[in-house]
């Protein structure tokens, strides 16, 4: 008797889908002017509204669902509008997945979007299923500036305005610091420019010949002067550009950066500027600063913590540079005395850098993309 009872219970306790009012689950993450999100919508509701079950047998297969993806995305996105500062944000849906909630299976739409400006408040107009189920609600989870808030969307008031929490100053600072470091490490033109300046820093030119410097201190001071001049210069122009006091067309700036790498590398092969390498670093640093500014413009600077964010980004760039110097300088210092370094590594490395930078220069000046570079 007990065994039969137990089996009966096992059968009974298989998960039963609940009967519940219709909800969708909308998650949005606002990051600057970018919006990423996920939208879970019940397949049952979509079937009622636009028909999913192609053969009408009540069993919805993945093939039947897949073929309706474009229709689902179009139907849903037409009923969700986001706007910041009176201007609409764009929103697109990526390939769908499937998930289960307490009342059955849902489509999971990944969302990607951008707003014209970094929003301080987000207007959401939500009308999903408003014409087929008046009790449908959208359950929103909004993640902005590191704080999460929730809202119930839909119903009598389809439009809601949600003030986004201003992230704390320290948080902003750290975020922009990280972006600064990241930008140096993924920006090969900046790295190659630095390398071009560092390669000869452990050498001195005497009588048309390279010789290794005698002590690390001398090399260190030389590098310190060069890197500081570079940093000072790009901080200056970055600030001017970020505050929109000076703006230059980005194609010119990018081309000038590529040209600076070519010149720095060629200077190692046919030295023109000697000794006063920091002067060259300063002049080219001014150009690189405009390049950083365009990155910062893409990220969007928060109005509330402008100075702090700018400082964070600058320090991030600086920290990224110092990390590269910390790895490279001891290496080239050890190798400086060898003939291989002076006769092969320095000229060949500089030549390679110059060639790559020339390709960039060509691409940027003529606005073309060469394959494989």
């Amino acid at each position: 008797m007990n065994y039969i009872m137990a089996l009966l219970l096992a059968f009974l306790c298989a998960p039963a889908w609940a009967h519940k009012p219709s909800d969708s689950y909308l998650t949005l993450r606002v990051d600057g002017s970018r919006i990423e999100g996920q939208w879970d919508i019940a397949l049952r509701d979509l079937d009622t509204a636009i028909g999913l079950d192609g053969d009408g047998d009540g069993r919805l297969t993945w093939d039947e669902l897949r073929t309706r993806h474009a229709a689902i995305a179009a139907y849903a996105l037409a009923r969700l509008q986001l706007a910041a500062a009176g201007a609409a944000c764009t929103l697109t849906a990526g390939p769908q997945l499937v998930d289960d909630h307490t009342d059955g299976a849902y489509t999971v739409l990944p969302l990607h979007g951008t707003c014209p400006a970094s929003p301080t408040q987000l207007t959401i107009v939500y009308r999903l299923f408003a014409d087929t189920d008046a009790q449908h609600r959208g359950l929103l989870r909004l993640d902005a500036g590191g704080s999460v808030r929730t809202a119930i969307l839909g119903g009598e008031q389809p439009a809601q305005v949600l003030a986004l929490a201003e992230p704390s100053g320290a948080r902003q600072f750290l975020a922009y610091l990280r972006e600064g470091v990241r930008h140096i490490w993924i920006g090969y033109d900046h790295i190659l420019f630095l390398v071009s300046l560092l390669l000869p820093a452990v050498l001195v030119r005497r009588g048309g010949q390279w010789q290794g410097v005698t002590d690390f201190r001398a090399a260190g001071v030389e590098v310190l002067k060069t890197v500081s001049a570079f940093t000072l210069a790009h901080s200056l122009t970055l600030t001017l550009a970020a505050l929109q006091l000076v703006t230059l067309p980005s194609r010119w700036v990018e081309s000038a950066i590529a040209a600076s790498v070519v010149v720095a590398a060629l200077n190692n092969l046919w030295p023109v500027v000697q000794g006063r390498r920091w002067v060259a670093a300063f002049l080219f640093g001014l150009v690189h600063g405009f390049g950083f500014a365009s990155v910062l413009a893409d990220l969007g600077l928060p109005s509330g913590a402008l100075a702090l964010s700018l400082l964070g980004f600058n320090l991030g760039v600086e920290a990224g540079q110092l990390a590269i110097v910390a790895v490279l300088l001891p290496l080239v210092f050890v190798l400086r005395g060898t003939a291989a370094y002076r006769r092969a590594l320095l000229p060949a490395g500089s030549l390679a850098i110059a060639l790559v930078a020339m390709v960039w220069l060509g691409e940027r000046v003529f606005d073309i993309k060469l394959p494989g570079v």
């Binding site: 007990n2 065994y3 009872m5 137990a6 089996l7 009966l8 219970l9 096992a10 009974l12 306790c13 298989a14 998960p15 039963a16 889908w17 609940a18 009967h19 519940k20 009012p21 219709s22 909800d23 996920q38 397949l43 049952r44 509701d45 079937d47 009622t48 999913l52 079950d53 009408g56 047998d57 009540g58 069993r59 919805l60 297969t61 993945w62 093939d63 669902l65 897949r66 997945l97 499937v98 998930d99 289960d100 909630h101 307490t102 009342d103 059955g104 299976a105 999971v108 299923f129 408003a130 014409d131 087929t132 189920d133 008046a134 009790q135 449908h136 609600r137 359950l139 929730t150 119930i152």
Partner: protein, 384 residues
């Protein structure tokens, strides 16, 4: 009781460990969802409504079909769909009485009783011969504890409709008063005479009679009436819940799982299932059901629903063992509705929490109404 075999325990616990995460189905033939099979009659109604969304007759026909589906399955999506059908009249100045009646029914269903009564009053003022409006009004008044008002509405109904319907109305209006026994006898005699009554009406009358027999502690007659009603409507959600409660009171929890087997999608019935498993001592099975119930309550809370207060209070008291939390929920619920189950739950939670002040208010109310119920009487004795 013998211990459950391990395999069975594993199967019971399995749903607990299936963590949901977005997934890509493996093949195109995978069935990702089982949808309600389309019923041809409903499709035709939808098509006729879609062709002329502002036409009253097709809109009402479709809306009532949705309401009927919602009641039969306890699936609230149908009520939302009914409401959407009425959208053209949402802000209209001139609303047809038929639309108002559906609206009142939907408001009643979402426990917005005062708003429902306002709609019903407007209907009965304009058209005092609308029998359904009087009946719905009597039901809402009784749920709110306005027994005099409910009796008055039933009196108006009696001039417009048959005896069985009128006496059923009166029985539901008097169930929580000192006139319970008299109205029960009247209804029982009328039901016996009226062999040709509509099945829905018979089920309603039999359910009322069964509950009244249970109040008198006549378990034999109550069980008989419940089973007679179930023979006509085996999946009536309210009836199943009432019978399950009766079985739980009688210590016959072993009969509950089989009774509710096919209807566990309704939260109210899944709650009874959990209470039965608890009474039977099936801990593994209980854990699964309890987790599922908690997930459903959480989902309702996310959208700010207050419709499940009664179930939630009962869940909190008997399954979570949180007397204080349960009392707060039971009080909020009792503020909205005062059916026997609500009164009883408030007494039970008050006793468990040892809150004399909360109890005093209910005890006075019970004395004032003349309510007769074996369980409530025991509770009042324990509380006083």
């Amino acid at each position: 009781m013998k211990r459950l075999p391990w395999t069975v325990v594993a199967v019971l616990l399995l749903p607990l460990f299936v963590v949901a995460a977005p997934r890509l189905p493996r093949s195109g033939g995978d069935i990702v969802a089982v949808l309600p099979v389309r019923d041809d009659g409903l499709q035709a109604l939808r098509a006729r409504h879609a062709a002329a969304p502002r036409a009253v007759a097709p809109a009402l026909e479709l809306a009532w079909r949705y309401v009927a589906l919602g009641r039969a399955t306890a699936d609230p999506r149908y009520f939302g769909q009914a409401q959407a059908v009425l959208a053209p009249w949402q802000h209209a100045a001139d609303v047809p009485n038929g639309v108002r009646l559906v609206r009142a029914t939907l408001l009643q269903n979402s426990h917005q009783f005062d708003a429902a009564l306002a709609e019903l009053r407007r209907i009965t003022e304009q058209d005092p011969r609308d029998a359904q409006a009087w009946l719905t009004q009597a039901t809402v008044q009784a749920v709110k504890g306005d027994y005099a008002g409910a009796t008055g509405s039933c009196a108006r109904l009696s001039t417009l409709t048959g005896q069985l319907e009128s006496f059923a109305c009166l029985a539901s209006a008097s169930a929580n008063t000192a006139r319970m026994r008299g109205s029960e006898r009247l209804l029982a005699a009328t039901l016996q005479r009226d062999g040709a009554a509509r099945p829905e009406l018979r089920v309603w009358a039999l359910t009322l009679l069964a509950e009244m027999a249970a109040r008198r502690a006549d378990a034999g007659q109550a069980g008989q009436r419940f089973r007679a009603a179930l023979a006509i409507a085996p999946h009536d959600i309210y009836l199943l819940g009432a019978y399950a409660d009766f079985l739980l009171d009688q210590g016959r929890a072993d009969q509950v799982p089989a009774l509710l087997r096919d209807d566990l999608r309704a939260d109210a019935l899944l709650l009874r299932q959990a209470l039965a498993l608890k009474q039977l001592g099936y801990r593994a099975g209980l854990a699964t059901v309890q987790a599922e119930l908690q997930a459903r309550f959480d989902a309702a809370a996310l959208r700010g629903d207050q419709v499940h207060l009664r179930e939630q209070a009962r869940f909190t008291l008997y399954l979570l063992g949180d007397a204080k939390g349960a009392l707060a929920l039971a009080q909020r619920n009792w503020f909205v509705q005062k059916e026997l189950a609500d009164t009883r739950l408030l007494l039970e939670a008050g006793i468990a929490a040892g809150d004399r002040e909360a109890l005093q208010q209910v005890i006075q109310w019970v004395a004032g109404t003349g309510l007769e119920d074996a369980v409530v009487a025991t509770l009042v004795r324990r509380a006083s």
